[in-house]
């Protein structure tokens, strides 16, 4: 069996499971209004408009739809944080997918832009949001194209804009696009960017832009995948949604499994009932590690997530047990590394990412990530010092104090347990750089030590200079 990805939906693999948001990916013209309408498109919106806005909100709250951007906060609860009587309110769609390993929002935007638009409209209707800004990552040219085209079609056909479907419901959806900055995926940085500023996160509190967001007004910021689930939930009901997945993580999720597996791809997976082992070794999923190699480690939720190992393979794909085990499902990005992987090199590469993408606002992150990269590089290049391992851990402790990872608000029983981590910074970017370092050092300390002792026996910087006679 080799039902690999069709060329028009690169990466997506149909695994015979329930399909809530990837049903249309089988069609080459899935992004057109015509195909969308022929496959139940805008039915969810029609059903929503027959209800009271508050009933639509209740339905989403009832569904326990967890946010798919990284933090895993329930969307229906987040929607409830808008202060009473403060108008106008805005919707901002976070399509700035750039967490290392993450590839799902781009697919949803390229392959089914109308589904996302429908989700936006239902959210606007439910909460009385006056205008929607769809922020697409700058580098995603095709996604911008497909969304622009979809919006033009939808405006023309009366699904977006003034008096949608002939009713007293008018919302503009504006396509906005970024210009290359990972940090803009942080919701307050996204708002800063949308206001025309440098994309630097805002000081908290308020913790949610639902209180004070775009132009100082209540603003709901939702991830692309989160909103793409809304049409199905409204069309089929929260109870049908909760029949899939587990009690605390209902429904399905998109997981991108990359790295050393035989069949890397983007899979729509029922949460809770599937384990990492199923995903890596299952015939319906990745079909094992390449060349029959042993698994060395895997990142369960994007570059920011602490690493997992063989003993974690039987954990279900569900926010709470993964959180309890000390990591997170984050943005559904799983990176599998086999026994041939150099742990120090992999750690350096992930940390380099955070060092490059630090916005520079908070010193512990700006200086800390930069030094982490420099120290890791000198270890990797055989120039490390015996004190470097402790130094790395100490820098990490300055960014995220205490044993890592520890949830900042462990008393609040958030869905994804170690997130956000305890931090000396405004946003979780800096603390994220600590994840690969603590993971790698705790598990593969010997690899670091070997590189450092090699340095002691062959001191690179002190090598005799050969002078030609």
């Amino acid at each position: 069996m080799n039902n690999s990805a069709p060329a028009f939906a690169a990466g997506y693999i149909n695994n015979d499971g329930p399909k809530l948001i990837t049903e249309r990916f089988q069609f080459e013209d899935s992004f057109t209004l015509e195909r969308f309408l022929n496959t139940g498109g805008y039915d969810g919106l029609r059903k929503a408009l027959e209800k009271k806005p508050s009933e639509v909100h209740d339905e989403v709250r009832e569904a326990v739809l967890l946010g798919r951007g990284g933090a895993g906060f329930p969307a229906g609860v987040k929607w409830g944080f808008c202060p009473e009587g403060v108008w106008p309110r805005y919707l901002v769609v976070n399509g700035d997918e750039s967490e290392p390993g993450t590839y799902k929002d781009r697919l949803l935007m390229e392959r089914d832009p109308h589904q996302l638009i429908e989700g936006c409209l239902i959210a606007c209707y439910a909460l009385g949001l006056s205008q929607c800004f769809l922020y697409v990552r700058g580098e995603m040219a095709l996604a911008q194209e497909r969304i622009a085209n979809a919006l033009n079609e939808a405006y023309e056909a009366g699904y977006v804009g003034r008096n949608i479907l002939g009713q007293d419901f008018s919302v503009d959806i504006v396509l906005h696009w970024g210009a290359g900055a990972y940090i803009v995926g942080e919701e307050t940085a996204l708002i800063e960017s949308l206001e025309g500023n440098r994309g630097m996160p805002r000081l908290k509190p308020p913790y949610f832009p639902a209180a004070i967001g775009l132009y100082g007004q209540p603003t709901i910021v939702n991830n692309v995948e989160t909103l793409s689930n809304i049409p199905w939930i409204i069309d089929n009901g929260a109870s049908a949604y909760k029949e899939m997945g587990s009690e605390t993580s209902p429904g399905t999720r998109l997981f991108a499994i990359s790295g050393h597996v035989n069949r890397p791809g983007v899979y729509e997976v029922e949460q809770g009932v599937t384990t990492f082992r199923d995903l890596f070794y299952g015939e319906n999923f990745c079909q094992g590690i390449r060349n029959g190699n042993e698994l060395k480690m895997f990142i369960p939720g994007g570059g920011s997530a602490p690493w997992f190992f063989e003993e974690h393979l039987d954990l279900p794909l569900e926010a709470r047990p993964v959180g309890d085990a000390g990591s997170m499902l984050g943005s559904g990005a799983i990176v599998v590394m086999d026994e041939t992987t150099d742990a120090v090199k992999a750690c350096l590469r992930v940390v380099r990412f955070f060092a490059r993408e630090s916005c520079g606002k908070c010193s512990p992150c700006r200086e800390g990530t930069t030094w982490e990269e420099k120290i890791l590089r000198r270890i990797y290049e055989g120039d490390g010092r015996p004190s470097d391992i402790e130094l790395l851990l100490d820098i990490g402790d300055n960014i995220s104090p205490g044993p890592y990872p520890v949830a900042a608000f462990s008393d609040q029983n958030l869905e994804a347990v170690p997130f956000p981590p305890r931090q000396t910074t405004i946003c979780p970017l800096g603390p994220s750089s600590v994840a690969p370092i603590t993971s790698a050092i705790r598990r593969f300390r010997a690899e670091f030590e070997t590189l450092i002792t090699q340095r002691d026996s062959i001191p690179v910087s002190a090598a005799p200079i050969e002078v030609e006679q």
Binding site: E28, K52, E139, G158, Q167, S170, A181, R198
Partner: protein, 216 residues
Amino acid sequence: MAYFTEENLRRAHEIIDRYPRAKSAVIPLLHLAQEQNGWITNEAMTHIAELTGVTSAEVLGTGSFYEMFKFHPVGKYLINVCTNISCQLLGGEELLHHAESTLGITDGETTEDGLFTLEDVECIAACTEAPCFTVNYRYFHRADENTFDEVVAELRSGRSPLDKGKQGDSGDIPLHGTLSRIQQHIPQDRKAGIIPPEDSKTAPVWMKKNAEEAKS
């Protein structure tokens, strides 16, 4: 000071009109300027400042934060090779080295003929399709050295290599600066209208439904 062409000025006003605050248009207008010229000049920033009611220093302040904006000339084709973790595991760094030796330039440099600029880029969301690279932000998935050589050869000979991308994207690759080949256009008679924060202190009309049916 006029920088934008007549057509682009029309597009600039159309973009500004979509936002409650003109400053929100700064990033889209910087893209528009880059589309017109391939990179962003001081004149462009001055014009954007005039159009959005901010200072040109603020435009530079915003623009210089973002990697995609180039404040110096770059090649017609910007090649971004991903070396982040998923690509690194499957040969992204080797692909970058191949690109460097083939083009004779390193990260950030432009070939002498002004055709190619090469960058070592962070994760571009194609992780299951590693290793990958983009040309003017058009994707080439599961690429190897052969793919890279073929793409460069096609571009040199003036043909579009987009069918080698394994993505379902087609047509020509626009020159550096142009992202989407389709623009959003909101017809005047379909526009709901923007609602600036200061203009509205009441709930949108459809929210009345909540109260109305509660009475019955």
